[in-house]
């Protein structure tokens, strides 16, 4: 088939339309949030003392970390799935969540006696954390990988990793409402590991499924 012939076929198909990728991302964010919420409510639900916990800095700070991750990953993945789009600024924003966590960890180390550090780091929920963040995030991750496939990421493995971070940020936001361990020491350790599991799955998914 000559290239001119191919162009005839493509042109004859010009009227077929598809949802713009940007809309697909917003839709997937909505669907993924609903899925994460349903799994969260069915599996663990919020902690019983959430009303009082809302008044503590440590509890609220968890949502700042996880939402900063989700929002920055969402911006980056949109750029990564569009060929030729500049990713530099969105990539730079990815430092926000880790930076906030580091600041919180330093403040925690300064305000809590050293004897308490170990107890706060290990907490009482680490198995729950490592189980349920990936469990809440796996559905959203599948959706984000599907949207990546719908898009055109020129670096599929990187894009898949960011999909994992996005799913992780979303899942951790829900999980944070359940967990009694509010210390930044706990969050910095176990949330990070749980989210890294999703990021690794995302990278694998990007490598295996995101082809175009």
């Amino acid at each position: 088939m000559r290239t001119d012939d191919l162009i005839k076929a493509l042109d004859a198909d010009a009227r077929s339309t598809a949802m713009p990728l940007g809309s697909a991302w917003w839709m997937s964010a909505g669907v993924a949030t609903v899925i994460a919420a349903v799994v969260f409510w069915l599996a663990i639900g919020p902690r019983t003392d959430i009303a009082t916990a809302m008044h503590t800095m440590r509890f609220l700070a968890k949502f700042v970390f996880t939402m900063a991750l989700a929002v920055s990953a969402f911006a980056l993945i949109r750029a990564l799935s569009t060929p030729g789009a500049s990713t530099g600024r969105a990539a730079a924003w990815m430092i926000a969540a880790p930076l906030l966590v580091i600041v919180a960890v330093v403040l925690e180390l300064l305000s809590v006696p050293a004897a308490d550090w170990g107890r706060r780091l290990v907490g009482s929920n680490l198995v729950v954390c490592l189980t349920f963040i990936p469990l809440i995030g796996i559905g959203p991750l599948a959706i984000f990988l599907a949207v990546l496939r719908y898009g055109a990421p020129t670096r599929p493995v990187l894009a898949g990793t960011v999909a994992g971070l996005l799913a992780g940020g979303l899942a951790a936001t829900f999980y944070a409402a359940h967990c009694f361990d509010d210390s930044p020491l706990f969050v910095a350790t176990w949330y990070t590991i749980a989210i890294a599991i999703l990021a690794a799955l995302g990278a694998l998914g990007g490598r295996l499924f995101v082809r175009w």
């Binding site: 088939m1 000559r2 290239t3 191919l6 005839k8 493509l10 010009a14 789009a85 020129t154 082809r211």
Partner: protein
Amino acid sequence: MTGKDEAELSRLMRAAIAGDERAYADFLHRTAALVRGFIRRKIVQGGVDPEDVVQETLLAIHVKRHTWRQDLAVLPWVYAIARFKLIDAFRRRGRRIEIEIDEIAETFAEPEAETVSERDINRALDGLPPAQRSVVSSVSVEGCSIGETAAKFGISETAVRVSLHRGLATIAKRFGAKQFGRAKQLKRE
């Protein structure tokens, strides 16, 4: 690769998205010429047929045109896709070379086979379900319109459009598949 190209191509693409088929054909022809120049400059060693990469790029541009945002420049988008498809082609060539070394005797025995340029897209086309293949061939190689194709096969124009769309999407997907060039079966959409 100038500002004039950019302005003209993004104007055509915007018109195409708004439903102007003439503009789309125009866009594709101009883009093909630009991509051809780009690919030929990039391929300094043999082994990859530039025109195969041009065709793969055009198909990808077509099936991924919903990823272009009107506020983005169109040329960086086009070249990013072309570069991706070129790297893909080299990756596949790495695999093929292994095959060719195995069959080196045959290659020497039949030098005339090399003069026939077997387009990748023809193999992808051959892998389509018969109904889609005949519609895609009719509209492309035979140059029939949608209406003529519908009359020829005794099906509705909508059916022709659906088959054409699915056929092109499947070919594009096959180009993106990891095992392209080796896998015999073609996953049906």
